[in-house]
Point group: C2
Chain length 297, copies 2
């Protein structure tokens, strides 16, 4: 569907620090000559797809001059057969935005202090820019006490339906590993120290918050402490509950009941999704690979 | 960390059509009285967190009047002890944005034709608004021909490093199921019709395109056709390759080699992540639950 940019993303499937929109990699920020309002053409940063990214915080231009600079720049970029043009506009330069949208720019993504707009210049090729992330990622934790055959369950405060017994958990934070998020959420909500062991299941569903799809992973953890100190802000109740009781409990969502049943099945077979950390040979950064494996006892 | 809004998302872990920011659910659009430039206060739509969402396309206001309307509205919302105020601003009303940022609004997320800004009003509480999605989702496909012990592999066109033999695959589209994405990508890239069977593994890594994290799922599919028609736009080569040859091949990324080894292990044990479709009891929509299961022969 979108050949070049997706092509690259597909090829690599490895951390890309300097690709797609140039937004994450404004090459040689510190070395770049800063333009001023007197510049008639934005310099921007060229990307490997023959696109240009302009960062408003690196090339300030007052709103009076902006319109003229933009038009001159677009003329030049069209002559040069550029493809995607990106403007990353900071809060301080938000008066650029009306001019950009009047010149055919659309919104792509945003984060607190900036928004990124883009315009696809080629008129003879379909725009091949991949959309921004549209998947939320959460994690629930089965903290299993083998000695007592109990799991740690919570009732949350802000329920719009009947409060249910749930696995502690929450959203994975930006840049956070799933393994770390599971341990952090258990600690925050229940005060229990627990260690990530493996992934048991995940649920993928659509039309969640902000219209996004949502992946909810269920991780299994081994407790290192047992004394509950619940988070009063988020949790109304937190107990260790017998696994069999949980599976039968009326106040359990269908998804969680299925997952608990699968956990019992797992206990008898010990094959699950475990995690290995690999180091990427080219860029030397670690990444996590989760695969079906026989669990070591 | 962010109690109320996350609290709700945690509780439900089910499709939410009317929550968080109100952006996906501008209640009673059709019934709402449309304000005009003569309104001094934006009506917006109230959400369950005591927040307000204004949609610029539903309450048009010319740029001359906007500043005054915004100030009057903010005064009223502060008096009413509102919490998060959201403005979903369409391309046509982008001249609202400089006024919004001058009044303490920040960017939250964006999609082609609109950008959403927010301001957290309470001065005595930390902002508890969850960030927008920050996880990209892709899928690779192991299409395994049991009769010949071969898998379908491709070399992609837009490689920045040595082209490698890879599983066909690509990004999951907004709202698309992983199972469907795997089948679609195989068909698009190789012309092979194949049926989703199960998930074998996934990789989670950070700092990918647009600064997002990235989950790359590997799905196993059974081929229903065998004649390759490669996509010339994205693929330079596509072959059926003996599984053993693939595992040994020098032009295979470490991640894919590990996954192929795990596939061989799986073949001997047949326990993997399978998918079940459940119907949510309250909202009657289907969702997909992937769990460790013994594969039926």
């Amino acid at each position: 569907m979108y050949s070049v940019a997706v092509g690259l993303a597909k090829i690599l499937r490895i951390p890309q620090r300097s690709t797609l929109s140039g937004v994450t990699d404004y090459v040689s920020r510190s070395n770049m000559a800063r333009s001023t309002a007197t510049s008639s053409i934005f310099k921007g940063s060229k990307d490997r797809f023959n696109g240009i990214t302009v960062d408003s915080t690196l090339e300030p231009c007052d709103s009076g001059a902006f319109s003229k600079c933009l038009k001159a720049s677009l003329d030049q970029w069209i002559t040069e057969n550029r493809r995607a043009i990106w403007f990353r506009v900071g809060l301080e330069q938000s008066d650029w935005i009306p001019d950009l949208t009047k010149n055919g720019f659309k919104f792509h993504h945003a984060r607190d202090d900036w928004v990124t707009l883009y315009r696809w210049l080629p008129t003879d090729q379909t725009c091949n820019i991949p959309p921004y992330a549209h998947t939320l990622l959460g994690v629930g934790a089965i903290v299993y006490n083998e000695d007592t055959d109990e799991i740690l369950v919570v009732k949350e405060k802000y329920s719009v339906v009947t409060p249910m017994w749930k696995f502690p958990g929450g959203y994975v934070e930006p840049g956070e590993d799933i393994t770390v998020a599971a341990e952090r959420e258990v600690m925050e909500e229940t005060g229990i120290e627990a260690e990530f062991k493996h992934i048991l299941s995940f649920r993928h569903a659509h039309r969640f918050a902000y219209g996004c799809s949502d992946i909810y992973m269920v991780a299994c953890l081994t407790p290192r402490s047992y004394e509950i100190t619940k988070c009063n802000r988020e949790i109304t109740d937190c107990v260790w509950m017998k696994l069999d009781e949980y599976v039968q409990h009326p106040e359990v969502h269908e998804n969680n009941r299925l997952v608990a049943e699968k956990f019992i099945e797992f206990k008898n077979h010990k094959r699950t999704i475990t995690v290995q950390t690999l180091i990427h040979p080219a860029i030397k950064t670690p990444f996590r690979v989760f695969t079906i494996s026989k669990l070591e006892d």
